[in-house]
Symmetry: C2
Subunit: 407 residues, 2 copies
Amino acid sequence: MTALERWGPADRGGLTPVDGGITAVAGLRAGGVVTGVKESGMPDLALVVADRAATFGAVTTQNVVKAPSALRTDRIAATGSARAILVNSGNANVATPKAYDDTDRMAAATAATLGIDADDVVVMSTGVIGVPLPIEQVERGIPALVEDLSSDGGPRAATAMMTTDSHAKQVAFRVQDSGGVCTVAGMAKGVGMIAPNMATLLVVVATDAPMPAALVRQLVRKAVAVTFNRITVDGDQSTSDQCVLVATGTATQPPALEAVARAVHAVCADLALAVIADGEGASRVAAITASGARSDEDAVAIARAIATSSLVRAAIHGADPNWGRIMMAMGNAGIAFEPSRVQVVCAGHTVARFGVATSFDRARAAIAMAADQVAIEVDLGVGRGTATVLTCDLSEDYVTFNSEYTT
Amino acid sequence: MTALERWGPADRGGLTPVDGGITAVAGLRAGGVVTGVKESGMPDLALVVADRAATFGAVTTQNVVKAPSALRTDRIAATGSARAILVNSGNANVATPKAYDDTDRMAAATAATLGIDADDVVVMSTGVIGVPLPIEQVERGIPALVEDLSSDGGPRAATAMMTTDSHAKQVAFRVQDSGGVCTVAGMAKGVGMIAPNMATLLVVVATDAPMPAALVRQLVRKAVAVTFNRITVDGDQSTSDQCVLVATGTATQPPALEAVARAVHAVCADLALAVIADGEGASRVAAITASGARSDEDAVAIARAIATSSLVRAAIHGADPNWGRIMMAMGNAGIAFEPSRVQVVCAGHTVARFGVATSFDRARAAIAMAADQVAIEVDLGVGRGTATVLTCDLSEDYVTFNSEYTT
């Protein structure tokens, strides 16, 4: 059992990893091109297109300051249907006077080139903020992008949505049960700590399983709640975060809904882990599990308080089984509990029991905590609520990356 | 006008700084000695004693995990009366099986030596946690500590309560109005980021102005609410935080209550600033002011969200007028506002207006932000609510101090 055993669906039966990224899903084409938005000359515009109208759902940022792209996605999600998802990277198209117009212009140009309705084009944007998007340049790139679309273009699209990611993040599963078969796949960028500005998280998940829009909406919300909403780098949420789910409906004999839901959960869990592991400055992933809480909600609050504590995350960086900081962070979660019932386990070593230190072997515990993936487990001893939140360590590099002066 | 113009009482008329620390207050004696708890051999035990019964009030940590010393202070504060405050540093006496007993033993030994009731002895503790306190050693030091008491011992007490503080923190004011005169003084230790464990904040404030216990309680709560509760280093609150107020009542012709209240506010504000400025790894203090909010409570939430954002604090470290991160942090405060009304001013430079970037001079703004004290001001443009929260920058040194493995 690994440090991350509780992360993602407990049962992955019937899920087989496959290649191809998002285009492993039948009925989708994808591509990615360079329009010149990034100084690096890397690909900066990605497109995923469904051959036919697909059902569509989305979860977007809860930040009060919300990007035009996220607001547009909310409007399209309300209709429950979409055909294309355009992702531009390198410029978040936020907080400039023409940001709203430019979002609509990107959608309109894409729709015109594809010969579809602009209301069916979702837009996602990530990159620097407050800098006007070179919209003509982006518009000029769209014909080439449509030209680039192909049924094996998933990896190119995943690459074109990257900003400071060290590699493209994509995952795909073949899903099979006694009733049938389908595919669920996804790609993501972020979150790390994005220089020079915000840590946008963008996720596209797709399946060929047919399902009504209401179900798509429900599946993406449920999956995000236990995956992307349970990871944290610094507690900050970008203005542009989006996770969307597209169902092409091309699978003629799909498996049971429950298997599809587990696959969506697994895709989101694996992408969320990839995002945390790729955090700039992060040297290890920590899975914080709270159990024995009165409810799962209490467990989430406790695990999140530990995962967002700078002092705890600095201790994880130092491979320090610092249960005192863990207890302190728990006590700040706003959840009532009895300290004298608390047990704390760091990387398999029980370091506190009944709220006081055990005579654990500090040197051995420190060695265990120096692994790439570390489990920290706290038990409140009062109920059956449990939850896991992923975070990464707080390193000097995090500060360096985020304090360097960059335009 | 400085970056911290809004910090502390707007009117300091009638307040004159005086020397002597806590013992500037008539009717108090104080001292500090070495009992050997600290490996460094620095003073580790402080005592403040009132010649007669004094009225007493306290604010202690809201952390669910609460130290025995803080719980004891709560009990004594409920009686409204105390005679002595014992502070031990170097060992927080928390989360060990005998921590409750040891707290009471320290109080009992102090009371016996002074010839007073143990229920009149407040205990404050700070230092490593989970390590048993060498209680006999502390008890053996108490006679020497009582011997050391004197009416000019304030500075010795302030020094003996230090842990990783770089200097003793004390402040005293003579308070005068047309009605009379009194003294208000205080000393503090913390908060910085205390290696190896928690960032305990301990504060003792005293006055010779006579006042009933109900008023003492009210004054300390009000002062803490707008000073120590509006500073943040990393959002973490220790299990042992305490701020107490003692009124000896020896001033025969005191000024009006309003003047005393302003002085208590000023003492707490100045000590809170000293604590933030002394944060380990901190290279500058930032005063985050939110104005134009619907209420002061909304303004506090907005200012606190900015002040606790790791991304904002890293930008402050880099002297980067990164208004995008500031807007993002505001948007995560849980307070509704209209981004298009927001103005952001960094170190006097208006960097965003109506929610979008101005054409500010980035190089000059960056130079202004490289000062020791920096003001960041956001205006929501919807009301008259205002609040200031102090923080320090997030530096590589913070991470280094807090990730080094130390027992």
